[in-house]
């Protein structure tokens, strides 16, 4: 087993003070929603455990997840997370190219066999002999397979690797295929979003290092801590939804007052992500705060659910295609139906002038919570 310096040693080597280090642990613990005292657990872990080797490869993607990761904003994140892990391969920012780059990849695989995390951005084209994505003259799948086979676990960055994303949207010309369909038996977690939120990406790595395990996952393989709640339920405009106060038209008085964007097609009610809580780019804003509805970019098949401006009642395929493959979609549609009733009920309540909650609304809420 190759010797790896611990993260704390590495941080010291790179000029990070103990004070900054502890501050980082505290911030990360809060971001992860961990209990009191967990920052010291994390500090202890990072002080004694070796740096986590991470290899990061790109298939069919737009590199937005790499870009997002580089934007990680907490004081220590950009510099430290890049260093906290032993990032021996990342072809968007690494110095080497060509043979030297490929050699770095293969050397790291053998050096850290069974220890490293393979971070995958993008997905794999299975049509066209795999040559819709060529790396070193060979199908990207070759590189991916080499990396997956010897990895301790695989992280699917973003919606491309998790679900397929834009190149897999109907009719998926390249046969773009997400990770879990290629390697169903490999330990893995999905961090969807187009791109994934920067601080979520780094916090998940920090969690793996701290506790030496993958975080608890939901039924779809996403870390429950960041994907457990709907955007709608965390949204700062939620009160307007409940009060039946909606933006009716772009830049109308409602839009200028920050009312609910449900009628403008917001997919917050069917999207599980942490945007309203962590917000984006050091907490500066998130889509709804900037006036556009959520387009549901962390959800499976979000490109094929009708227009981004359709109210979610119009999601196609409702009640159809109820096979094991599409049960997730059907579940989303059911939530949508519930929300629609809920929305109508809210408006009715609003029209009546804060009348007591109606039976319809209660039923809708129950429907929500069942999903």
């Amino acid at each position: 087993m190759a010797h790896l310096e611990t993260t704390a040693e590495m941080l010291r080597n790179r000029g990070i003070s103990r004070r900054d280090f502890l501050k980082f642990c505290a911030i990360t613990s809060v971001a992860l929603g961990l209990g009191p005292g967990s920052d010291m657990v994390m500090a202890q872990a990072l002080s004694t455990k070796p740096r986590l080797p991470v290899l990061w490869i790109n298939g069919l993607s737009c590199s937005c997840c790499t870009e997002s990761f580089l934007r990680t904003a907490h004081p220590l994140a950009t510099d430290i997370i890049l260093s906290m892990i032993a990032l021996d391969y990342q072809d968007t920012i690494m110095a080497a190219a060509g043979e030297q780059a490929t050699a770095a990849y293969d050397e790291a695989i053998s050096k850290y066999k069974g220890q490293y995390i393979l971070a995958v951005e993008g997905n794999t084209p299975m049509n066209g002999q795999g040559m819709y994505c060529i790396d070193g003259g060979r199908p990207f799948l070759d590189k991916l397979t080499r990396g997956v086979e010897n990895a301790r676990a695989v992280v699917a960055w973003g919606t491309c690797a998790s679900w397929g994303c834009v190149q897999a949207a109907n009719p998926n010309p390249t046969g773009a295929t997400p990770l879990h369909k290629l390697f169903p038996n490999k330990p893995q977690l999905k961090v969807p979003g187009c791109p994934a939120i920067p601080e979520v990406m780094s916090a998940i790595l920090a969690y793996i290092i701290t506790y030496d395990r993958l975080p608890a996952l939901d039924s779809q393989g996403r870390p429950a801590m960041f994907y457990g709640k709907r955007v709608h339920d965390q949204c700062y405009r939620r009160a307007h939804f409940d009060a039946g106060e909606f933006v009716e038209c772009w830049d109308d008085e409602g839009a200028r007052s920050g009312l609910c964007l449900y009628k403008m097609g917001c997919k917050g009610p069917t999207t599980y992500n942490a945007c309203p809580s962590t917000r984006w780019n050091n907490g500066v804003s998130f889509p709804i705060q900037s006036g556009h509805g959520c387009i549901g970019c962390a959800e499976q098949n979000f490109w094929d659910q009708g227009s981004f401006y359709d109210r979610i009642t119009t999601i196609p395929h409702f009640g159809t295609n109820a096979t094991a493959e599409t049960v997730g979609v059907a579940a989303v549609a059911a939530v949508a139906a519930g929300v629609a009733v809920h929305g109508v009920a809210s408006m009715v309540r609003h029209a009546r002038g804060s009348a007591p909650e109606t039976g319809a609304a209660s039923a809708a809420d129950n429907n929500d919570s069942n999903n």
Partner: protein, 602 residues
């Protein structure tokens, strides 16, 4: 199979040693490059291959045109937003929708913010390591670095103590033996010319820029909700402006505007005090690279223009980034460019992995046809799924070859500067003359590998100034009570014409001219084509053998150590390659797609 021919003033000789670089790293996407070297290690043949294909445009067929921006924005996460703005413009052009002045201002600010961010990251984090030796930096004398930095700039992070702390961090990284992203770099390569203290200064700025870049894009976050991939809107922008009334705290208000202003001011200072002085220093130390890698920038350059000063006015007069074409090296004459003229821009596929209908050589994007067909040619070495060497006399790239009036063209910051200079644009001419004057050199030194990098720095500084200009315009509108950000008159598809309408949207993306062409039929997208900057620059050969811009720029360059292709990386990186952008192209007919499954082997 060896061959020889002349084109564009080059003699292309496929003989001697072949060097393959795949993957080319520190770019967006997947690129392969092959060159032949003669006995003096001079490049006599250069081959650029785009090695991904994603097919986004076919996915757009039948979609709501108002959604298209989100799809095409995902063409690229690096130049995020630029495809979206081209898309909403194309749809607005097709449907005859005009946008409010504030929307134009905010779109321009988002585009300028992207340009600044993209140029910053490219200059330091993608291209920078080709010029700066990180290992040498760790031997730099902090006193000397401080003296150099203070001579160049008033930037406050310049004390000996500051540079010592940077050096100490580097030393510890290097001594630890685990270089992370610096692993396997070409450290110590003789083509690195900076003295240790200059390396140390620039590495310090590499780290500062890495920290700063994440703040630059907060302009996107405020107006567009997130970055990468902010949100856009056909008819305007999705954000609303509210200074005085109920609910202002929940939208764009004075606090948000002050936040943006502060980012802009930091951008201006960083440009003037860090980026421009570093660029000048680099040019001073690498003077020979002001004469290497010029390629098509000496022959034929193209710009569509961008950043309309006046909303809905895309005339030459309104565009703050210039439009025009220069061919045959005649920089005395700038030719007009019309994106809807079916004879001007045409794409050919003679050297690409696509089929065209019988008898078709070039097609305008409004009529674009794309049928991908991976057919690597009989002259390859290796096998079709284990390429050791491509066959450039046959087909060798997932990129098409776009031509302007039959010419291969270079696009990008340098092309914009050259077109603006030739058009005697006061602002551009002033910037270029000032920069070249400091080097005591004629403006033609910009037509080089290092000139491309310099043009990008000049444009970065320009973008910061224009950010401030548009911010002030926005405030004036607000003072006058104008808060309108969207025109919703034609939001409802019922208000759109039946039948077929066509539109084109264009802008200058960070990497160069970007055009989107769309055909809308019965309120749905019928056809969608993009020609993106990297398709122009990284294109394979034209039917008549003309070299693409990457290929031409590599010709004649001498390599010190062929196994360590630093010179190739310098020139390729000077274009800021973005292959995800370049290789998504597909026409309306997807039925010819190959469906051969990969043997998964597990």
């Amino acid at each position: 199979m060896a061959y020889e021919y002349t084109t564009q003033g080059y003699t292309v000789i496929d003989a001697g040693r072949r060097v393959v670089v795949d993957p080319v790293t520190r770019i967006e996407g997947h690129l392969r490059c092959e060159v032949n070297l003669n006995e003096q290690n001079v490049i006599t043949n250069a081959v650029s291959c785009g090695t991904i294909f994603r097919g986004i445009e076919i996915i757009l067929k039948g979609r709501d045109p108002r959604d298209a921006w989100a799809f095409v924005e995902r063409i690229c996460g690096v130049c995020t937003g630029t495809h979206a703005v081209a898309s909403v413009q194309a749809v607005e052009d097709a449907l005859g929708i005009e946008i409010p002045d504030n929307a134009n201002i905010i779109r321009n600010m988002m585009q300028l913010c992207l340009m600044y961010h993209d140029h910053l990251v490219h200059t330091y984090h993608l291209a920078g390591l080709d010029w700066v030796d990180v290992v040498s930096a760790s031997r730099g004398d902090p006193e000397a670095a401080s003296a150099l930095a203070r001579k160049l700039s008033p930037w406050p992070n310049s004390s000996p103590g500051y540079f010592k702390s940077v050096r100490d961090r580097l030393l510890k990284v290097i001594e630890s033996g685990n270089l992370g992203i610096f692993t396997n770099g070409y450290w110590g390569h003789p083509a690195y010319k900076l003295p240790p203290e200059a390396n140390l200064m620039v590495v310090a700025h590499y780290l500062e820029a890495l920290d700063f870049q994440k703040d630059v894009i907060h302009i996107h976050t405020i107006f567009g909700g997130k970055n990468p991939h902010p949100n856009w809107l056909v008819g305007g922008v999705p954000c609303s402006l509210n200074l005085d009334a109920y609910g202002a705290a929940d939208v764009i208000n004075q606090e948000r505007l002050e936040y943006i202003l502060q980012v802009i001011e930091r951008c201006r200072v960083f440009a003037q005090q860090v980026v421009l002085p570093d660029t000048l220093a680099l040019a001073g130390f690498y003077r020979d690279w002001l004469g290497i890698g010029g390629g098509l920038s000496r022959l034929s350059v193209l710009a569509y223009g961008g950043i309309p000063d006046m909303a809905n006015d895309f005339s030459d007069k309104s565009l703050l980034l210039p439009r025009g074409a220069v061919i045959n090296g005649n920089f005395e004459e700038v030719l007009p460019v019309n994106l809807t003229n079916l004879d001007e821009i045409q794409e050919s596929v003679n050297h690409s992995w696509y089929d065209y209908p019988q008898g078709k050589v070039g097609l305008h994007p409004f009529d674009g046809v794309t049928a991908p067909n991976y057919q690597p040619g009989s002259g390859i070495k290796g096998t079709p799924t284990d390429l050791k060497q491509v066959d450039e006399q046959a087909r060798y790239s997932w990129l098409k070859t776009p031509l302007w009036r039959g010419h291969q063209m270079e696009v990008g910051p340098l092309a914009r500067m050259l077109v603006g200079y030739a058009r005697k644009d006061d602002v551009i001419k002033g910037m270029v003359d000032d920069f070249c004057g400091r080097l005591n050199a004629p403006f033609t030194v910009l037509q080089s590998t290092l000139g491309r990098i310099a043009a990008r720095s000049l444009e970065l500084a320009w973008a910061a100034e224009k950010l401030r200009y548009f911010y002030d315009r926005l405030v004036i509108n607000l003072k006058n009570g104008n808060t309108s950000t969207a025109n919703t008159q034609n939001w409802n598809p019922d208000s759109w014409p039946e039948g077929e309408v066509r539109g084109v949207g264009f802008t200058e993306a960070p990497r160069g001219a970007l055009g989107h062409w769309t055909v809308i039929r019965n309120r749905k997208i019928e056809r969608y084509q993009c020609i993106v900057p990297t398709t122009w620059n990284a294109a394979p050969r034209a039917p008549d053998g003309q070299l693409g811009a990457y290929e031409a720029a590599l010709m004649g360059t001498r390599m010190d150590i062929p196994e360590q292709p630093l010179e190739i990386l310098r020139t390729l990186h000077s274009f800021d390659p973005c292959l995800a952008c370049a290789t998504h192209i597909i026409g309306p007919d997807g039925s010819d797609l190959l469906t051969v499954r990969v043997d998964r082997g597990f």
